[in-house]
């Protein structure tokens, strides 16, 4: 079934982040600390890098980062490495109340750790300069970069892109081209369909997994309440029957603790991996969008070039003095078009490679998750069985008195 290629990484990393072989780059995200006050409070993490890559400043570096720094890194990578499935980030917390709950912080820390390590072990992404900046820059530099990126005022080039998109959309409509141009590759269509469907299925599975965690907690709570009530009943009954009730109540409360523990384990080792899977699929969807954009751009440019070519020919016949300029423009456009085609093709190529990796990795990850689930449930069941079994002789003693 699962090959023993499963590599469980160093202790500071969670089981899902693959370790790398020498040359190595290993990162750990640890030590969440709450900083700041009131509305502006946030959590900072310690990011420890150990590497022997020549491009890095040294074998070990420790920096302090916060969530928005990770977002910056992800956005940069997404921009630069189109076609590659960028590892997903944990979500921003929607509910203010839980932003600083221990559980949420731990889940986030774990997810961030996995995020960075996935980047660090991706053959292309690990070469990224932005990654080096992220792992090594001092806090002020990081802050500057972060503010620059996530500020309200976007970069001029972004604005231009948005403008162009709108422009092309408008011209499409005007020219009667309602639908944006799309690839006609049937295999790719199948893939897109697969990805979109997969997200739905996974989201449902994750939903139930989360509910299961809740159920464990609820069962734990009710066992605790039941235990207390039974103890009171025992106190009321008195003598050996009362003792029996008390023993039962105490056992029930013990089990409640076990259940709460198991609930936490289930959350971290089963529900979170599932969630991670969902996020990964969403990241693929983003790449799909990028590919569509690249394809459209390529098509537009091809169209534009055709027109320009016709224009050029016309001009060369009529007004030779404008030909030079037109030719220059034409050549520029041609270069752009070639660039766009290159980009698109690289995206296609990368996506195909990434897909293989993705499927294999996910099979591995899910295998581990199932394993953890089974382990946890076995642990729980055995614990419960043992606890109740140990009660029986005491009950016997009570009934014989």
């Amino acid at each position: 079934m699962i090959s023993t290629n499963r590599t469980l990484s160093a202790s500071s990393q969670s089981p899902r982040s693959p370790s790398s072989q020498p040359p190595y780059l290993s990162v750990s995200v640890t030590d969440p600390v709450k900083l700041g006050n009131g509305v502006q409070a946030y959590i900072s993490y310690r990011v420890i890098t150990k590497t022997n890559f020549p491009e890095y400043q040294g074998p070990e570096k420790i920096v302090i980062r916060r969530y928005s720094d990770f977002v910056w890194l992800r956005d940069r990578l997404f921009e630069k490495y189109k076609g590659i499935f960028i590892p997903p980030l944990p979500e921003k917390s929607a509910v203010e109340k839980f932003r600083f709950s221990a559980e949420f912080i731990e889940m986030r820390r774990q997810a961030l750790d996995i995020f960075v390590n996935r980047i660090a072990s991706h053959h292309a992404l690990q070469q990224s300069e932005d990654l080096r900046t992220f792992l090594q820059a001092d806090e002020e530099t990081m802050e500057r970069l972060r503010a620059h990126e996530t500020g309200i005022f976007k970069k001029p080039s972004d604005l231009m892109q948005i403008f162009k998109d709108v422009q092309s959309k408008v011209s499409d409509v005007v020219l009667g081209k309602e639908k944006p141009v799309e690839e006609s590759d049937p295999e790719y269509e199948k893939l897109k369909h697969y990805i979109f469907e997969l997200e739905n299925h996974l989201a449902e599975a994750q939903k139930h997994a989360y509910r299961l965690v809740k159920r464990h907690r609820e069962l734990g709570q009710s066992l605790s309440d039941f235990g207390k009530a039974v103890k009171l009943l025992g106190a009321c009954e008195g003598n050996s029957l009362g003792k029996a009730f008390s023993e039962l109540g105490a056992k029930s409360e013990t089990l409640s603790v076990k259940l709460q523990k198991e609930a936490h384990q289930l959350l971290m080792n089963f529900e979170e991996p599932l969630k991670d899977y969902v996020r990964a699929v969403q990241s693929i969807k983003a790449t799909i969008t990028e590919r569509a954009n690249a394809f459209r751009r390529q098509c537009e440019l091809t169209e534009t070039i055709k027109l320009k070519e016709i224009n050029l020919n016309k001009l060369s016949l009529i007004r030779s003095d404008k030909v030079g300029e037109a030719e220059m423009e034409y050549n520029e456009l041609k270069a752009e078009s070639e660039e766009a085609t290159r980009l698109f093709e690289s995206i296609v190529r990368l996506m195909n490679e990434e897909l293989v990796q993705f499927q294999e990795r996910k099979t591995l990850d899910m295998g581990i998750a199932f394993n953890e689930f089974a382990r946890g449930q076995a642990r729980l069941a055995n614990g419960i069985a043992d606890a109740w079994r140990s009660l029986l002789p005491k009950l016997e003693a009570c009934s014989s008195t």
């Binding site: 079934m1 893939l191 299961l212 039962l248 499927q359 899910m366 089974a374 055995n382």
Partner: protein, 595 residues
């Protein structure tokens, strides 16, 4: 791994469905000899249990009914059987007959305990005592009530009284009603099997309607004051439309059966004439109905002026045996009310007072017990609900992964996808099995913890018995003070008349009348005191019985609950009881990963 087990299970499920169909044809009164221990019968049992558990605990009912609601692709046979287990189509009890005790004992008790004295359900199997055929835990409860708790396992009481309620049918009221087809009511077949000689027969059946049960209950409360008489099922204030609905009728049937079985389990009531008559006499129930109250009201209204005018204020001795009721006893009510006010507010200490300290202590304890029972019973319900939810969610999770498996298999481009699909299938199978485990666990948990509810229900009977005692006491006190006031009146009259020379004819006549009244009142007082003492004794012996049986029943409950928790579910009794079924599944899954 998973697939083999599936096939095995499914084969069994199909087999059991056939069995079920065969069973339905059985004669209802036949004790079934089917001793089928297969796991799957339990699943069926669960499904049919959905209706059996007629108590008004919504958690229970939803726990059970959800069994038939959920769809499991791996367990479609169960789906089909749940439809068949619909009690409205065929009496479910029969299907449950074979199950409850045999398989329960087979996997609730691990080998180490099989030779221990404690065998919660084996006892039932051996003896044909009440409740062996009902899946309801309550029947076991009532069964135990009649057995001496110390020798629970193989003691068979030599006599039994087994009642079954079945076959609800609509009948029409004979009177001409304005609404055509109006005034329909439901009758139930009350079948009895007994070897008690008083009944003069060993098997018989009558048809009764709910109103008859109310009558029986009322007459019993009158005749057996001071006893802990099990409370009857509630009258329902619903519209006639609802009354006719099968679900309602079925609930009522279950409740009636439980009630009658509890009556049969009570050592004194089972020998009562009222019960005998109810169970045996064909046709109209020959007990005075409570609609006599109407005539009593009239009677009382007629008597009142006479009483007020002082014509006859005598309380006949035979009336003393009953508490003052509205209607005919208006005057008596006034007097007793006056007395109780005097007791409470005027600080005058009546001649006879509740002196029994022991009783007062016990009463306190009973109140305390009731409080704790109520609390524990609530938490038990919550626990059951939590277990049920756990099972449900596990099932849903398994289902989601089944879907994922199918999806990945259909869309597989890479081999890694197929591998993953296989893993998911294994996981989903385990999850669904775990889900079944929880359901089974829950079904048993409900049965055990139901004992808490049983005793909680009994508290009402206890309160009634205590009320009987205090109202009897009040009657005694009232009569005593009346007697003393009559006697002082007589004294005064005598003193006055002795002063008149030659006698005072009218006064002498009055004195004679008074003396008559005093005699009658004296008799009434004696009867009242006897009655009071009788009720006191009833209270005492019942309290003793309650304590004794409660201890035994609760210990049984606890053991059953604990045993169930760690070895229940789909377990094989011969396997080591160190792991629950869920643990076994999980370990099996684990092994397959590691290999």
């Amino acid at each position: 791994m998973g697939s083999e087990n599936e096939g095995f299970e499914e084969a069994h499920l199909y087999a059991s469905r056939e069995e079920m169909e065969n069973l339905v044809l059985d004669d209802p009164l036949n004790n079934n000899d089917n001793d089928n221990n297969s796991n799957n019968n339990n699943n069926n049992n669960n499904n049919s249990n959905s209706s059996i558990n007629g108590k008004s605990y919504s958690a229970y009912r939803s726990a059970m009914s959800s069994l038939s609601d959920t769809h499991h692709p791996l367990s479609s046979p169960i789906l089909a059987t749940s439809a068949e287990s619909d009690p409205l189509l065929s009496p479910p009890r029969f299907r449950d007959l074979r199950n409850p005790n045999a398989p329960e004992s087979s996997y609730i008790e691990p080998p180490a305990y099989s030779d221990v004295i404690f065998c919660p359900f084996e006892g039932d199997n051996v003896s044909d005592v009440n409740g062996v055929e009902s899946p309801s835990r309550n029947s076991d409860f009532s069964g135990r009530f009649s057995r001496s708790p110390s020798s629970s396992s193989s003691s068979t009481s030599s006599e039994y009284l087994k009642i079954t309620v079945s076959n609800p049918q609509k009948e029409q009221e004979n009177s001409n009603s304005i609404v055509p087809g109006g005034n329909t009511y439901v009758t139930y077949l009350i079948s009895t099997r007994t070897n008690i000689s008083d009944f003069g027969g060993s098997e018989f059946g009558v048809r009764r309607r709910f109103r008859d049960v109310v009558t029986l209950s009322d007459r019993l409360t009158e005749s057996y004051r001071g006893l802990f008489i099990p409370p009857r099922p509630d009258k329902s204030v619903v519209e006639s439309q609802v009354m006719q609905k099968q679900e309602f009728v079925e609930q009522r049937r279950v409740a009636l059966e439980k009630y009658l079985r509890r009556l049969a389990a009570h050592p004194m009531i089972r020998r009562s004439d009222e019960l005998k008559v109810f169970l045996q006499v064909q046709g109209k129930l020959p007990l005075p109905t409570t609609t006599d109250v109407a005539s009593r009201m009239l009677d009382g209204a007629v008597k009142l002026p006479k009483q007020l005018l002082g014509e006859s204020t005598v309380l006949a001795p035979h009336e003393v045996v009953q508490p003052a009721k509205g209607g005919r006893d208006l005057l008596r009510l006034f007097k007793e009310l006056k007395q109780s006010m005097a007791n409470d507010w005027m600080g005058s200490r009546p001649a006879v007072v509740e002196e029994d300290k022991e009783f007062l202590e016990k009463k306190e304890r009973v109140n305390d017990l009731e409080l704790q029972l109520s609390n524990a019973s609530q938490q038990a319900e919550a626990l059951v609900k939590a277990q049920q939810d756990m099972g449900e969610t596990l099932g849903e999770l398994g289902l989601a992964f089944i879907k994922l498996t199918k999806f990945e298999n259909e869309e597989a481009v890479f081999n890694s996808q197929r591998v993953r699909a296989a893993d998911m299938k294994g996981f989903a199978t385990a999850a669904v099995k775990a889900s079944r485990f929880y359901r089974e666990l829950n079904a048993q948990t409900v049965k055990h913890l139901d004992m808490l509810h049983e005793y909680l229900g009994l508290m009402l009977a206890v309160h009634n018995a205590f009320t009987d005692r205090s109202s009897a006491l009040l009657t005694v006190q009232t009569l005593l003070s009346e007697l003393s006031s009559l006697e002082s009146k007589a004294e005064k009259l005598e003193a006055a008349s002795s002063k008149i020379f030659g006698g005072d004819k009218s006064r002498v006549r009055k004195i004679d009348e008074l003396k008559d009244t005093i005699r009658v009142t004296e008799d009434a007082k004696n009867v009242a005191i006897r009655e009071y003492e009788r009720i006191k004794e009833n209270n005492r012996s019942e309290l003793e019985r309650l304590d004794r049986e409660r201890k035994a029943d609760f210990l049984t409950m606890l053991k059953g609950f604990v045993l169930n928790q760690f070895s229940g579910g789909l377990g094989n009794p011969n396997e080591s009881p160190t792991r629950g079924a869920l643990g076994r599944e999980a370990c099996a899954l684990l092994h397959s990963w590691i290999l």
